[in-house]
Symmetry: C2
Subunit: 396 residues, 2 copies
Amino acid sequence: MEYVFSDNLASLKPSAIREIFKSLSDPSIISFAAGNPSPLSFPSKELGEISADIFANHATAALQYSITEGYPPLRTAVADRLSRIFGIGRDFDTTIITSGGQQGLELTCRALCNPGDVVLCENPSFIGALNAFRAVGAKTVGIPLHEDGIDPAELEKALQEYPNTKMIYLIPTFQNPAGITTSAEKRRAIYEIARRHSVIILEDNPYGELRFAGEDVPTIKSMDEDGIVVYCSSFSKILSAGMRVGFVCAPDKLVQKMVVAKQCEDVHTNILFQMLCHRYMTERDMDGHIAGIRTLYREKCQLMLDCLDQHMPKEIHYTRPEGGLFIWCTLPDCIPMNDFVKRAIERKVAVVPGTAFNCDTEAPSPSFRLNYSTPSDEDIRRGIQILGELAKEMLG
Amino acid sequence: MEYVFSDNLASLKPSAIREIFKSLSDPSIISFAAGNPSPLSFPSKELGEISADIFANHATAALQYSITEGYPPLRTAVADRLSRIFGIGRDFDTTIITSGGQQGLELTCRALCNPGDVVLCENPSFIGALNAFRAVGAKTVGIPLHEDGIDPAELEKALQEYPNTKMIYLIPTFQNPAGITTSAEKRRAIYEIARRHSVIILEDNPYGELRFAGEDVPTIKSMDEDGIVVYCSSFSKILSAGMRVGFVCAPDKLVQKMVVAKQCEDVHTNILFQMLCHRYMTERDMDGHIAGIRTLYREKCQLMLDCLDQHMPKEIHYTRPEGGLFIWCTLPDCIPMNDFVKRAIERKVAVVPGTAFNCDTEAPSPSFRLNYSTPSDEDIRRGIQILGELAKEMLG
């Protein structure tokens, strides 16, 4: 039988990164391609202890159906932490639990966008979000990402050019893939523009707790006096990625609509892990644990930067992140990025081609993404040396 | 700010059942309203043992990102079981893991339906599925459910009336809410009609393993020589509802598109529970465990039927299920169903009004749903007596 797919999904391709992930079973490949947190960032011993207690004493609650909005004690603990760390949450806001940060992004778009509506995004941006928007039929339009964020004037221009813009999607802190942090001034300017145009800002902050250098910058949500910001994040980068627990803080009216959509998608997020997150947050030293992850990533990022400084010809540019998981490398015109990535894989080093992060899927890219949280120190040294040698060869 | 929601979600209401569920925190209420499996159906001790071993020896794999299609050993174990128990799976089929059975239903509709497309459903039908279809913009059209399933002639007529029908949604075994099982003859006739019209059948079988009386009836998927059946089910009714692990067996081309949509929704289903399910299936006595659930539900169902026989006036009709979780009661014209349900709640007995399961949300219903898997025996006795007294009073 010939299957006829829905218009929204017919042309959508699987995420290039998820596909790369599948092909990485070859253990001889040095992968800088993943977006995985370091296994060292999972407090598995403590999670195992709490899990044992839940199975012993609260098994029925952990294994039975629960409510769509999430485990109430976890919602309270998350709301408290968001308020304490990021100054987030007003009277009109509600915090709910989602199945990973991904679901929060997807539900926001489902609640707001009709096919053909525009979502303005930093270009490049997180492919998982871009695909979630496309799967609803929304059009992703990119605004160039500069060293301190998108240019407010370019945002203003885009909003005039696309009056059917429903939301602005931003990862203002340690952006994926570029590792860039939007300045406080630009955040305020962006908020003001969105407010004036009555457009929702979707602030995605999965790496927000992973700052290892520089000064904190206020979240856009902390400026949200008007109820126009949806804030999404998750436990994936601080407790476990595999357990798929994320959260959203947004105006209650909007959250109610997202909850209806979540009922349709998965009824609720797995409840045992919600209980685990709650108890870890309230009974263990979460701040100390996160401080440990920061130290680890500071060292890994510095090592990768040192290796890049040592091996990369000066024609190759790269970002110097103050947190998060990624470095963004940009090649000169004379090195075609796709060739570079292909030849790197032949030499057993995997990176993600920048085209994967383009809002316009047909557009070229001179860049690629490096991840430093997953590979071993030895792999970072060897892999960056190989990439440096390749770049020198291709420069000729 | 005034939020403008997407057309698909703007008019969609939260599931009446999920809302009832929230209001059931009053412990003095006897609830026949849930769709919950009995807590006794969760093998929590054994799941706890396996979980402890996973945390001790395989924590990194359990807590890290994984692939969207699901944990490969679980996919194999599920495919093997589907083949062994239900004769399901051909060369063109693929089995993937979903976040509960709910996600399988939702992904099927997302892959196939544009707004305005029709999904033909048994009337009444499972509200979670109906809402998932509506959330994609599909129109749910009901075909009356008779004692042995929908009438093939009425299906044929509906397909002629709605040429934009994309799929036929059926719960052929121990239907929710009606507790009805479609006969083998009707299944074959329905399959033949769908094949002739090139329409997909979505076969939802969450209760398929819970037969406690009568003879097995072949699944529609087992007849699927043409690759037109998507089969969805889950572990919710046999291992744990709260862990949100389900599965789909469907033609690979269709599954690939569902995987793209799943990447957008939640990247993958929580991996620890996938490992738990796999190890429980392969290391423990799953068949013995399920036999125990069947015995439990046979007794609970019989108790509820005995109480109904004893207390209900003969004007009230109810189904006599051979498995599953639900009995469907139908009131005579002289008792308005909504009044009955409202007065039952005043007397501290909760049931789900039949209108919640209508394909046409504006249509009335003379029926309500009773669940026998969750309440205690004492609550079944007391609650049914109260409902019987109320029915006698309202008959006058």
